[in-house]
């Protein structure tokens, strides 16, 4: 037959009931709203990269970054820094004996003095750091081995520290305060600095131990249990000192109740774990004297070390660093170099692209420059 499936098709389109199994329902739309959003016609800024915009951008970036980089570089270079390794690896070094005869239990401290010469005076405030190498303060087992709520003065955590502190959680069935591997391995060398007058007499350099910890750490994160109760001995009753410590936490600085217990700044500085296995931590500050003399005049010095902290077992090193500080922190030429590099690369690319644009720009009208 003639086209049997091809017939006068009548308006059977709109059946009264949508019969059958629809997928998603047939929602009868009314006329769509003519709004800019729905019609995808929102006014828009359509930046088009052309030689006219990209080339100046390159030059501007170059011209801004190079001076900044030079500024940073010069600033960094003006910072004075002196680093002394006192680990005592060599037979010749003063601390060799101390580093060899190490024992946690020895009651007699081992002393050694390292002489050094300062060929330039340090003019402004001098910051004294101790540095450790190959010391993995960022090891996961180490990082998490602490109880922040205990350090924040929580009484319950004081008596039953977090499980994370294992195996430095209890000793002799008493909870350790402060618990954990970080606290247990507190850096306990004592560093003292003496200026040797040309006439041979030693002058102790005053080392300030306050202001080395972060404000937020000292006032927010770390708190002694018992609040302002000055009698820390009572507060820490029933707890044990960390196994490697010679004295209890409340004996860290008995002279100053504001710097004792958990809020001891040396302790707080140590508890802020370093990012890399070679690190430095702020130890003391030598404030600039009011008169015009430099903080550390040129001359001979002696670093007196009470050598307690063993590093030879993991091939670590110990350093003492003296440094002045600029607005951008300690000596670090990296930022300056990075800025200069980026600036010069931009500038150079700008020139190259400018040449290309001049030579071939006329041929190809839309010389887009990939960024």
């Amino acid at each position: 037959m003639m086209a049997s499936n091809y017939n006068a098709k009548e308006e059977d389109g709109h059946q009264p009931a949508a019969i059958g199994h629809g997928g998603a329902g047939t929602v009868k739309n009314k006329k769509p709203d003519n709004t800019a959003f729905k019609q995808q016609r929102l006014p828009a800024w359509q930046p088009i990269l052309t030689a006219g915009t990209v080339l100046p951008a390159f030059f501007v970036i170059g011209l801004i970054f190079i001076p900044i980089g030079i500024g940073l570089f010069v600033t960094s270079n003006n910072i004075q820094e002196l680093e002394i390794d006192y680990t005592g690896v060599d037979m010749s070094s003063p601390c060799y004996n101390c580093s060899q005869s190490y024992s946690w239990n020895s009651t007699k401290p081992c002393l050694c003095s390292v002489p050094f010469f300062l060929d330039q005076p340090f003019e402004s405030n001098v910051f004294m750091y101790y540095g450790l190498s190959n010391f993995y303060q960022n090891h996961r087992r180490y990082v998490k081995s602490r109880d922040d709520s205990q350090l924040n003065g929580d009484k319950a955590s004081l008596t039953s520290p977090s499980k994370e502190c294992e195996p430095y959680r209890t000793s002799d069935n008493k909870p350790i305060a402060p618990c954990g591997a970080i606290a247990n391995s507190l850096f306990n060398d004592t560093l003292e600095l003496y200026y040797i007058d040309p006439n041979g007499s030693r002058t102790a350099i005053p080392l300030v131990k306050k202001g080395i910890a972060w404000w937020t750490d000292k006032h927010v994160k770390f708190r002694n249990p018992g609040g302002n109760d000055n009698n820390l001995t009572v507060v820490f009753q029933g707890t044990s000192k960390p196994v490697n410590w010679r004295k209890s936490v409340y004996e860290l600085d008995p002279s100053d109740p504001d710097n004792n217990g958990f809020i001891n700044e040396d302790f707080i500085v140590w508890m802020r774990t370093a990012a890399l296995p070679t690190f430095r931590k702020l130890y003391r500050i030598i404030h600039k004297k009011t008169n015009m003399t430099p903080t550390l005049p040129l001359g001979q010095y002696i670093l007196e070390v009470t050598y307690n902290y063993p590093v030879r077992s993991f091939e670590g090193r110990k350093r003492m660093i003296l440094s002045t500080i600029s607005w951008m922190g300690g000596k670090n030429p990296f930022l300056g170099i990075a800025y200069i590099t980026v600036g010069s690369v931009c500038f150079f690319l700008g020139i190259v692209l400018l040449i290309i644009h001049h030579k071939y720009g006329n041929r190809n009208h839309s010389a887009d420059i990939p960024s």
Binding site: L42, S185, W214, T216, N244
Partner: protein, 1035 residues
């Protein structure tokens, strides 16, 4: 006990008095359920289905590992995003299921009339029970499968269309149960029928009245749910199958989930990243144990292991270390990418339904999005399969012109025509010259007589035919198997000859003088596709016997005198290239001997038991000779609005358009010319039954002897035409070695042609073609567009199915992925929306991988500096919130709003579509670029900060930074860099882009101040800012 394979139904629930006590049989109710979930099973079922997805399962495993094993990051970091993903997906699926519930309800709550105890009661459709007697009025659809008991028509029949079931929209006649009582209230009968089965054309039933009265019933008594009552005022029927047991419900195959090609790319990339992840974890684990083997490193005095760690087996420890590294680096495979992609698709699809350009004032509807998963696929289409009728054309035939005896008659525009043509002595409006009046009238009479059109009874007001007058405007009054027959009859009517209908073998025609002429219809020589013509033999009042024949030019010309052909050929050819469907009309005066001979021949052939077809054909061919040509007609199958422009744009965009139609070849070919799919210069290759026959005679070796190599050389456009019968020979030929060779050869030929036309296609064959192309080499993305139920199969088969909200019911729309009101909207849907969506999602995916790579790479590098101890670089909060809060909104907004090229430009330059063809932005090249960018930036972030930290005293008070500050600085630089990278890629800055990009940076800073208040102070931020600037411009 009852037999299992049949069911007994009591009509009207009245048991026979003779039978024993009624055991009320239990059947399912008439509720249609297409929804997947209920309120109660939603949670378990949905969760189960979600975790069947590989990605979700992977994240669940990671989460469980984190819970069980001691891992560096807390379970929250991966649990929270996973929870978020699961929740969002569940909400989306819940919403879609709610829509299905709503659609179901619309059907289920539809009010129907049921006869209950002699009263007519309105009931909701879902409450119909098997055995209920249901009343259905004209144009209503049947609410369930019914057995027709009574019809308002006198001849005990009713007409239905089953367009939504099988795509056939012609009227089918169904019969009532013979010899039943007229009084349905008192009818008590049982129906014994088989258990429900999906075959639409099979139905065996016994109808029995309680006394000895049996009737067996067949499919002609069954009215299927989903069919529509036509041309019948009302019927009564008894429900036999209901709800999910109806034949339609049994035939319904759920839409299979379509997955887009982008998702395949994502999975491939995911695999790469999984390899990176595993190798990272392996490297770290290996290095860890190498490092630990050095003395003093594994367990220095300051960092002792716990007893438990010491006791653990070494290999178990290695394994848990490996798992820990996996967990630490697992952020490289972003959970949140899935949720962002889902959200982008879901929200993005709104723009399609919101687009006012898709709004059609005629049907008061815009575009409809059924699936949001395939938005980007619209930008990747390589093959377009289009239906012809109703899609390319309006299926609205119009008589355009005719040519009588070599003179062209153009039908003038409407409005003035009636006056012009009713003039009795003047000619029909004629351009230059006119043919003789006699010829004109003969031609018009031929048009009025040579057809199989029936006049439709005017509904509502009695029989309009009886008066002998049909109102000329009542153009709906014809029913025919082909719309061009109607167009011809209507065309003749415009020239003054009206066909009034049949009256017991007499055809009644009203001529220009309003006189009714009657002709006795002696024989109809039916149309068949081989002969390609049809004839009628009529006897006039005066006793002359005449044969009128109409048919394709190629089949008429050899059977008429040559000099007549020459006069008309030119017109016919010109009309054909203009896309009109041309028919030639011829006639022959039969002498009584000739007629007697023909008559006996025809009668014998019709009664023949063997080879009836061949015998009939022989007689037909014998009768239809020596005719004289009167003229030719040109009928236009009106194209859809802008059909040609749309097709041209699609071809300009590099898509190959295949027309798949059930229509005749000539018709389809003329449509292709009209749509400019075939040009004048296109060389047509025909592979049809006809050409096969002729080839078989000449060279029986192989029909496929066209050497494919020769064509690429010439710059010639080829069009390929194949018909259904030949196609089934190619596709389903006997399973010897040649068949697969034919198939691939066929495919090869098709792929080299600009346009392929497949005519005389069954719906299933359409799907076969789509499937064949879909699975061919390179697996191109296919798109099917159609409007009718017969297109459903190919719509479901193709990657993207588009339904046109046409006249042929809603079946195609319901099964489509996208539905648009008109064909012309396809252009914007593909070239505009599709292109943009593809670019957006491609950028989204690449950006996500990039941003997570440079997020995790520093964490990996950090392991080299922390003794491979799985120490995370970033704070847990940052790890969790990086993808959720800090960097997700800008990319989401970008992937919804970005227009790298404006919509108008995309529409105007179809060739731009080729830029993104073949998944151009998600190939390995761009992926490599983004990956290398991520690696480069990750290295820069980490080592930049590493060198900065060579002196960790970074403040003017000399205090030093710790490990968390290190991570925070890296993280800050990272967040700023990836956000600014996105800003640099954004080409379309609306206020929303500005808001989310700068807003999320501000939010990050704000959050860091509060969160990091404990671990940092203000001065750090200043440092970071300087540092960011320095790094930013390196990238």
């Amino acid at each position: 006990s009852r037999k299992v394979d049949s069911r007994t139904i009591y009509v009207g629930h009245r048991p026979c008095p003779t039978t024993e006590a009624l055991i009320p049989p239990k059947f399912c109710d008439n509720r249609i359920v297409s929804s997947k979930y209920t309120v109660w099973n939603f949670l378990p079922k949905n969760l189960f289905e979600q975790f069947r997805r590989i990605a979700n399962f992977y994240f669940l495993i990671i989460f469980l590992v984190q819970v069980i094993v001691d891992t560096p990051t807390s379970p929250v970091t991966s649990g929270l995003p996973l929870f978020f993903v699961i929740t969002v997906t569940a909400i989306k699926q819940g919403y879609e299921d709610w829509l299905r519930h709503k659609a179901d309800n619309e059907v289920n709550k539809y009010l129907v009339t049921v006869l209950e105890d002699g009263r007519r009661a309105r009931k909701e459709s879902e409450k119909i029970k098997v055995g209920d007697v249901v009343e259905v009025v004209e144009d209503e659809t049947f609410p369930c499968d019914l057995i027709l008991l009574q019809s308002s028509r006198e001849d005990e029949t009713c007409f239905v269309t089953t367009a939504s079931l099988d795509g056939e929209s012609n009227h089918k006649t169904h019969y009532t149960v013979p010899d039943t009582e007229k009084n349905l209230e008192s009818l008590s009968a049982t129906i014994e029928c088989e258990q429900p089965q999906p075959d639409l054309y099979k139905f065996v039933t016994v109808f029995s009245r309680c006394v000895v009265f049996f009737r067996s019933l067949g499919p002609e008594n069954l009215l299927l749910k989903g069919a529509t009552l036509k041309n019948t005022q009302k019927i009564y029927g008894v429900a036999v199958y209901s709800g999910m047991e109806t034949k339609m419900a049994l035939n319904y195959q759920g839409k299979s989930q379509k997955r887009s090609a982008v998702e395949k790319s994502i999975n491939a990339f995911l695999l790469v990243y999984l390899c990176i992840l595993v190798s990272k974890a392996l490297v770290c684990t290996t290095l860890k144990y190498v490092w630990q083997s050095r003395p003093g490193q594994d367990e220095p005095w300051y960092n002792q292991k716990t007893q438990k760690e010491k006791d653990t087996n070494l290999y178990l420890k290695m394994f848990t270390d490996f798992l820990s590294f996996m967990v630490l680096f697992n952020f490289i495979i972003p959970v949140s990418m899935y949720v962002t992609v889902e959200m982008q698709k879901f929200l993005g699809s709104f723009f399609i339904s919101w687009d006012k350009d898709f709004f059609d004032p005629e049907i008061q509807e815009g575009a409809l999005v059924n699936t949001s998963d395939l938005n980007e696929e619209l930008g990747q289409v390589e093959y377009v399969f289009t239906d012809k009728t109703g899609t390319l054309t309006q299926n609205n035939m119009e008589f355009i012109e005719c040519c009588i005896d070599g003179f062209q008659y153009k039908y003038a525009d409407s409005g003035t025509e009636l006056d012009g043509f009713c003039v009795t002595d003047g000619p029909v409006s004629m351009l230059q010259q006119k043919a003789g009046r006699e010829k004109e009238e003969l031609f018009l009479r031929a048009l009025c007589l040579c057809h199989t059109v029936q006049v439709k009874e005017a509904t509502g007001q009695g029989d309009g035919v009886g008066d002998g007058m049909i109102h000329p405007a009542d153009l709906r009054g014809f029913i025919a198997s082909s719309p061009d027959e109607v167009a011809l009859v209507k065309g003749a009517m415009k020239y003054g000859f009206k066909f009034l209908g049949m009256e017991s073998k007499n055809m009644r025609v009203m001529n220009r003088n309003n006189d009714v002429e009657t002709y006795e219809l002696l024989h109809v020589l039916n149309f068949d596709p081989v002969r390609r013509r049809m004839s009628v033999i009529v006897r006039t009042k005066s006793g002359d016997t005449m044969l009128f024949c109409k048919g394709a030019d190629s089949s008429i010309f050899p059977r008429v005198r040559q000099e007549e052909v020459d006069r008309i050929r030119m017109h016919v050819e010109r009309n054909a290239t203009e896309g009109y469907r041309t028919l030639c009309v011829a006639y022959k005066l039969l002498s009584s001997e000739e007629y007697d001979q023909a008559d006996t021949g025809l009668r014998e052939a019709k009664l023949a038991l063997q080879d009836r077809e061949e015998k009939l054909m022989a007689v037909y061919n014998q009768v239809e000779t020596g005719m004289s040509l009167i003229g030719a007609t040109a009928v236009e199958d009106r194209l859809q609005e802008e059909a040609a422009e749309t097709m041209e744009a699609l071809q300009g965009a590099g898509m190959k358009v295949w027309v798949l139609t059930g229509d005749k070849m000539e018709t389809a070919k003329s449509t292709c010319y009209a749509c400019r799919l075939f040009q004048r210069s296109t060389e047509l290759l025909e592979l049809t039954v006809r050409t096969l026959h002729s080839w078989a005679k000449s060279k029986p070796v192989s029909a496929f002897s066209v050497p494919p190599r020769s064509w690429s050389s010439a710059n010639q456009d080829y069009g390929f035409i194949i018909d259904g019968a030949t196609l089934s020979l190619v596709l389903n030929s006997s399973p010897d070695s040649n068949s697969s060779c034919y198939k691939s050869l066929f495919l090869q030929i098709c792929q080299n042609c600009t346009t392929v036309l497949c005519c005389r296609m069954a719906p299933l064959q359409k799907a076969q073609i789509v499937k064949m192309v879909k699975n061919s080499k390179g697996s191109p993305i296919t798109l099917s567009i159609g409007d009718g139920a017969n297109d459903v199969s190919m719509i479901l088969e193709a990657h993207v199915g588009i339904g046109i909200k046409g006249r042929e019911g809603r079946q195609a729309v319901r099964n489509s992925d996208y539905a648009i009101p008109k064909l012309k909207h396809l252009k914007k849907l593909l070239l505009g929306h599709g292109h943009l969506y593809y670019v957006r999602i491609a950028h989204l995916v690449q950006y996500f991988f990039y941003k997570n790579l440079c997020f995790i790479l520093p964490q990996f590098l950090y392991q080299f500096f922390c003794g491979y101890s799985q120490q995370p670089l970033y704070d847990a909060a940052y790890l969790t919130m990086y993808n959720i809060c800090f960097t997700s909104m800008p990319i989401l907004a970008n992937s919804l709003l970005e227009q790298h090229i404006c919509m108008e430009v995309l529409m105007d330059n179809a060739a731009l579509y080729r830029d993104v063809a073949k998944n151009a932005m998600l190939r390995w090249g761009p992926f490599l670029y983004w990956t290398l960018l991520g690696v480069y930036q990750g290295l820069l972030f980490f080592f930049g900060v590493r060198f900065l930290f060579s002196n960790p005293a970074l403040q003017d008070n000399g205090q030093v930074f710790g490990n968390w500050s290190y991570g925070t600085i890296v993280f800050t630089v990272l967040v700023f860099t990836v956000t600014l990278k996105l800003a640099m890629d954004t080409r379309h800055w609306t206020w929303i882009n500005h808001f989310v990009i700068w807003g999320s940076l501000a939010f990050y800073m704000f959050f860091s101040f509060f969160w990091g208040g404990i671990i940092c102070n203000q001065k750090r931020v200043k440092q970071i800012k300087i540092y960011i600037l320095s790094l930013r411009f390196v990238t």
